[in-house]
């Protein structure tokens, strides 16, 4: 049973690094911000497995919900794509 537990921690740690790299390399900032939220989600599960339920609850409430919303509002007020900043907002579809 302890092997299953620690193996899950190893898998989640690898996934954490992969999602963080995705968030850095992505050109569409909305995707990058959602990937940052996913980093917080995985981190919350890892905190729960490392026996820190208080920290997991804080990360779930603040890291997933509030930080992601703040980033999304900022992208809505500025440009969505990393390369061009011709127009503001969500709806500048890049074709």
């Amino acid at each position: 049973m302890i092997y299953v537990y620690t193996g899950a921690i190893v898998l989640l740690a690898m996934l954490l690094v992969y999602v963080a790299l995705y968030a850095i390399r992505q050109k569409d900032l909305l995707y990058a911000v959602i990937a940052t939220g996913v980093v917080s989600l995985i981190l919350s599960i890892v905190f729960l497995m490392l026996q820190a339920p208080d920290v997991a609850l804080t990360e779930a409430a603040i890291g997933i919900a509030l930080t992601t919303i703040a980033f999304v509002i900022t992208i809505r007020n500025t440009a969505r794509y990393e390369n061009d900043n011709a127009q503001s907002g969500f709806n500048n579809k890049k074709e």
């Binding site: 208080d54 919900a65 509030l66 509002i73």
Partner: protein, 247 residues
């Protein structure tokens, strides 16, 4: 070229960080036996049950042993909220349409139904902060999420800023006055020994700790709601004529 230098720097930094942290074995018991109280954590684990009658040791550390830290943290949140408001300042007459398109009526009715449940969950979390995982910060963040749901679902939902100010300052005054009362009666700021303790694992236990955590919860909820409200009410502008090329 710059990228090469940065990657080399990060490789050196990562190498030394890895070497340094492999010296700390993961999962070993570094607390020692709790009886001899070799570390601070062992002292807290040993003495929280008798001295402050709180089940959640993290709550005891955050509110009681390191209560000054929490006071400073709440102050930092207040300063962040104030600074955000002054950075994103706009005049009162230019009213802002928050969202371009109205959301569907299903979403509006549903969020009107869900909002009391979310606030109830937040209040539950910070009232039971000394018994279960959770506390003032988590509960305040959950309440702010509930207000965020209403702000997104309705185009014309206004959070009353005077109410936020009153809640925030009353909670702050409650926190500081409990600390000062401990200073008067016990000799140290946030002294907990002059409140009735109650029984471990019951709702009324822990002396002043639940009261302080409830105050912290209201304060954090008001501050985070204010931050989200200010961020959502910024005016969405099309790209402004930039004056950067005047040199």
């Amino acid at each position: 070229m710059k990228k090469f230098f940065v990657i080399a720097l990060l490789a050196i930094l990562g190498f030394y960080l890895t070497i340094a942290f492999l010296q700390i074995p993961f999962g070993q018991n570094r607390l020692g036996q709790p009886q001899d109280e070799a570390t601070v954590g062992a002292y807290y684990l040993n003495n929280t049950k008798e001295k402050s009658a709180v089940s959640n040791v993290v709550t005891a550390i955050v509110v009681n042993y390191r209560g000054f830290d929490t006071l400073g943290e709440v102050t930092v949140l207040f300063l962040a909220s104030t600074g955000l408001a002054s950075i994103l300042y706009r005049r009162k007459e230019e009213e802002v349409e928050r969202i371009n398109k109205p959301s569907s009526s299903l979403l509006q009715t549903g969020s009107k139904f869900l909002f009391p449940l979310v606030v109830l969950l937040g209040i539950y979390v910070f009232i039971h902060g000394h018994l279960t995982p959770g506390g003032g910060f988590q509960g305040g963040a959950i309440i702010a999420t509930g207000f965020l749901l209403m702000l997104i679902a309705y185009q014309k939902y206004h959070v009353s800023h005077s109410m936020l100010t009153w809640v925030e300052s009353l909670a702050g005054v409650l926190f500081v006055s409990i600390g000062l009362w401990g200073l008067i009666t016990g000799g140290t700021f946030l002294e907990n020994s002059y409140f009735p303790k109650g029984v471990l694992n019951s709702l009324i236990s822990g002396g002043a700790i639940p009261i302080i955590y409830i105050a912290v919860g209201f304060k954090v909820a008001a501050e985070l709601t204010g931050v989200l409200d200010i961020l959502l009410n910024t005016k969405e502008e099309k790209s402004v004529p930039s004056n950067q090329n005047e040199k």
